[in-house]
Structure formats: structure tokens, C-alpha cells
Subunit: 303 residues, 2 copies
């Protein structure tokens, strides 16, 4: 009988948990749950309780658990704090031994990576990056983050990418000071995350702005600047853009046009010059890339 | 008896060629030559003539040749134009079948990569990146370029990185319009390559500017913005900075200070926070990274 895996997509706002063997198992509502991210003890406790219930329901133990987590996190297996959420500005979560807390109740293999790397993995195995060795997955939402694969493996390096915090030129017409408290030189996240849009245009939520509002042209401009920088730095075979802000259907075509205009044919690749619609795309797994990727992280611990 | 390898560091200004089995062989002046980059037929012809002479001198054939070339180049083995220099703005060199021209005279394995990837390889095997799986090598000179390894392999992806062409914010005090003809949004190369310095300050060569001239503080500012973007995007374990501009000894300490100030402790890695002098470094092979890397490219074709 097929192995049962546990998956946690740990976001700063909410956790999504699921069990199953295959992404199709997640179409069944009873195989998953989501809840607000409060404190580590409460929220990770809810995840553990969910996995316990599911083991009873299935009458079999989980074989492995995969976690895609908000960060920064420690991914260095030689480190004393491997598996921790480290110095996050999010209240209560700094220095949280995430893997250790799960492992206390489930002494099985635990896969652990960033939320965006988990989503990238999900897209590579089941979604819009199938067959690719070099691509990135971006989330544009409450924050901006990115992960992906280079040379066929997830990107880690010194710690892990923090793609949202690159510096980009401010548009001359924009006098909004940027939302990132760390970066006076105005990083992409500070200028283009969801809360930056609502603050700049003085609305409660960016979703209240009409599709024709000038906010979206400026948003596409900033995102395009970021994409050009990722393209020049990493040379990805494809870019996948997820997150709440990308639910605005007017954005992607604007981004396509602006990236092409900014690159100005400098990168002579047919994929960009002739077919940018298939080069910069929405996730193949819709908003399920993260949890499906976490399930895949679990599977890769044991197969 | 040890294999004999050929190496070509093909720059837009000059070619450096060498033969040998080990980097130490390149301490012998008779094992190498350099000449101006003119036309493909003349310049590649000079490289071929040099290799022929060396085979005679050694009384044995070359086992392989490695080429680190200026770009853009086609590195896709499945492409009809694999081994070509493609759409370069450099006169005479667009659409040059570089590997094919060498192969006509030397039907042996040919390693081919970007100049900066070759230099990165040299630094990884013999220089400042030994033991690292994730790092970048930058050259700051007539242009700005970058290569490196991620997950233990050289970066290629869709084509290859063009790291110099990322967009960065212009300093408020700087009204120089940028030297890159492609990028009106002001890319790093356009603002910070050697010729941009001399144009901005209206001198024949940047080397005429005193070490205390304000030009260097601005140069360090722009380079630091670029480095922050590479750090956030790639999470390298180390950054190596070569090229003619980095011969200005006053630059590196300024860059260290500015990168730390700009990151503002957002990336909590001891390597950056506590020891940036060993995180951002000059090449271990001085100005020989490229040709030694090309020799290593050759060796890796046959061992």
C-alpha cells in the first residue's frame, strides 16, 4: 500500500497542512486543513494534531513529513540550529526549532526548505516547470520571495535566496518611500508587495483598486525590473509568478510587455524574444504549489 | 607522461593563450602568449598558430583545448550554433563559429564556456573558491560580467548569466546617463564599468583619478548595490571580484563597508555580518583566473 506523507506549507499568515501520497489526494477536502499562524506552540501544535488525526483516519503512520516554511530559516545540516526559523521580524517566531518540534511527535524523516523552494519543487514535479533544470518561482503577496532550481537542484547556497530584497530604481513618478524597514535604498518587496500597493494608493486592500487603475501599470513596472535582474543574474529557463497579487489578471500581460521593452533584445533567446507568454507564467498548480511541493519534499525523504 | 592542454582566454580586447598541464606551467613565459583581438580569422588564427608551435616544441599533441570567451555565446549542445559567439555588438565577431574554427585544426575535445565561468572554474580548483559549491566571480573592467557555480556546477541556464546588466538605483548626486546603449533604466555595467568612470569624470582613463577622488566612493556604491542584488538572488558562499577596475586597492574596503550598510543585517549569516573581508575577495589567481580556468576546462574534457 502506498506511503502516506504529511505536508506543511508554513506561511507568515496561515498554515496549510495536508496528507496523501499524490497531489490528487489533495482534491479531497478531508485530507487537508488550514489555520491562522499565531504562536509556534499553538500553530505547530495544530499541525501535529492534524497529522495525528489523519494517521488514525488512515490507520497507518506517516512515512515522512515535508515543510515549506517562511523564513529566514537554517538549512545547513551541519548547524546547531538546522531546521529553525531564525531571525524573523514576525513576533514569537524568532529562533523556533520547527523541525525539532515536529520530530518530537513524529520521529520520521522530515524534509525542510523555504516556502518558495517547496513551491518551486511542486511546480517542477507536477506543474509549470516540468523537465526544467533552471527556473525560479516567485511569490508576490504580503511579501516578495523567490526560490528555484539551478543545475537541477533547489537553490540554497550560503543560507537561501531572499529575492524580494534586491534594489531597483524607483520610478520618477513614485514618491512612496517603500515598505521595507531594512532597506532605505528601496528594495523590490518594499516597493511592490501587496501592502506597498495599498499604502501607496491609500486603500485598505490592493484588491479594491480597479483593473484599469494606474497602480497596476506601476506594479508591473517594478515587477518587470525585478524580473530583468533575475534573468540577467540567473539565466532561468522559465519564471513562475505566484502569490495573491498575481491573481490580478491584468498584471501578467503588462509584465510581459515591460520585460521585453526593458531587456531591449539584449538577451537573444527565442524563449524571451518570440515567446515570452510561455517564459513568464502563472503557477501550473494555481495556489497549491506550496503544499504540493511540501508533499514532494516529504516523498523525496524516503524514495 | 602528463597530458598537454591548450587554453584560450578570449577577451573583447585581447586573447591570452597558454599550454601546459598544471597552473605552475604558466609561470613559464614561453608557454603563453597574448595578442590583440582584431577579426575572428586573424585572432583565432593566431591562437591556432601558437598551439601548433607549442605542439612542435613539446613534441606531443594537445589532448584538449579549453576556451573561456567573451559573449554572448551559445552553450546549448543541442543547438545548431553551439560553440558560436552570437549577437555581440563587437564588430566582426557576431555569428562566429569559435569552436568550429578551432576544431578544424585540432580535432580533439574542446571545452567552451564564458570568460567569467572559466575564471570561476579556475578560482574553484586553484584559487579563492576552493571547496565551495555556490559562489560567483565578477569582472569589473571594460564591461561588467559574472559567472559562477550553483550546486557545484557552472551556471548556464537558458543561455548564460549577463550579470552586468541588472538595473540598480542611480545615486541622487550622479547625473551621468550611463554607458550601456541597451538599457535606458541604467544597468550596473552602464554606470560602473571602467569606461563609465572615465566618461563621468571626463578623464582619458579611470586610472588617472587619485585614490581619494570621490569617483571611487561612487564606484564602490554602485558595485555594492550590484553585490547586494546578487547576494539576495543567489545566496553565494563567497564573491570574487576581478577585472582591471578592482586593481584600485582603495575599492574593496569601501565595498565591504557599503554592502554591510545596505544589507543592514537583513541576511543573518556570520560570513557576512562578522567576516565580510573573507566573503567579498579579490581573485586568488590574480589576473590569471581566466587562462587557468580555460586550462581546467580543457582538462575536464578528458579526465
Amino acid at each position: 500500500m502506498a506511503n502516506l506523507y504529511g505536508a506543511i506549507e508554513a506561511g507568515g499568515t496561515k498554515f496549510v497542512c495536508a496528507v496523501g501520497n499524490h497531489p490528487d489526494d489533495l482534491k479531497n477536502e478531508t485530507n487537508q486543513t488550514e489555520f491562522e499562524t499565531t504562536t509556534p506552540v499553538e500553530t505547530i501544535g495544530q499541525a501535529i494534531a492534524f497529522f495525528n488525526e489523519q494517521e488514525q483516519r488512515y490507520g497507518k503512520p506517516l512515512s515522512a513529513i515535508g515543510i515549506g516554511s517562511f523564513g529566514p530559516i537554517d538549512l545547513n545540516h551541519d548547524s546547531d540550529t538546522y531546521g529553525y526559523i531564525t531571525a524573523t521580524p514576525k513576533p514569537y517566531w524568532s529562533n523556533t526549532d520547527f523541525v525539532g518540534m515536529i520530530k518530537r511527535d513524529f520521529d520520521i524523516p522530515i524534509g525542510f526548505d523555504t516556502d518558495v523552494n517547496a513551491a518551486a519543487l511542486g511546480e517542477q514535479v507536477w506543474g509549470a516547470a516540468q523537465g526544467l533544470s533552471d527556473f525560479i518561482y516567485l511569490t508576490i503577496g504580503t511579501g516578495i520571495g523567490g526560490g528555484g532550481m539551478i543545475n537541477g537542484k533547489l537553490m540554497h547556497g550560503l543560507i537561501h535566496p531572499e529575492m524580494g530584497h534586491i534594489f531597483i530604481p524607483r520610478a520618477p513618478t513614485d514618491d512612496y518611500e517603500g515598505k521595507c524597514p531594512f532597506h532605505q535604498y528601496r528594495c523590490l518587496e518594499g516597493l511592490a508587495c501587496g501592502p506597498a500597493i495599498s499604502r501607496r494608493w491609500n486603500v485598505e486592500s490592493a484588491t479594491l483598486l480597479e483593473a484599469t487603475h494606474e497602480a497596476w501599470d506601476l506594479e508591473a513596472h517594478y515587477l518587470a525590473l525585478g524580473l530583468v535582474n533575475y534573468i540577467c543574474t540567473l539565466s532561468p529557463q522559465r519564471i513562475i509568478m505566484g502569490g495573491g497579487v498575481m491573481a490580478q489578471a491584468q498584471l501578467l500581460p503588462l509584465i510581459h510587455d515591460k520585460v521585453k521593452a526593458m531587456l531591449n533584445d539584449y538577451i537573444q533567446a527565442a524563449e524571451i524574444v518570440d515567446d515570452i507568454q510561455h517564459y513568464i507564467v502563472l503557477p501550473g498548480l494555481s495556489n497549491r504549489s506550496g503544499v504540493i511541493g511540501a508533499l514532494e519534499l516529504a516523498r523525496q525523504q524516503v524514495v
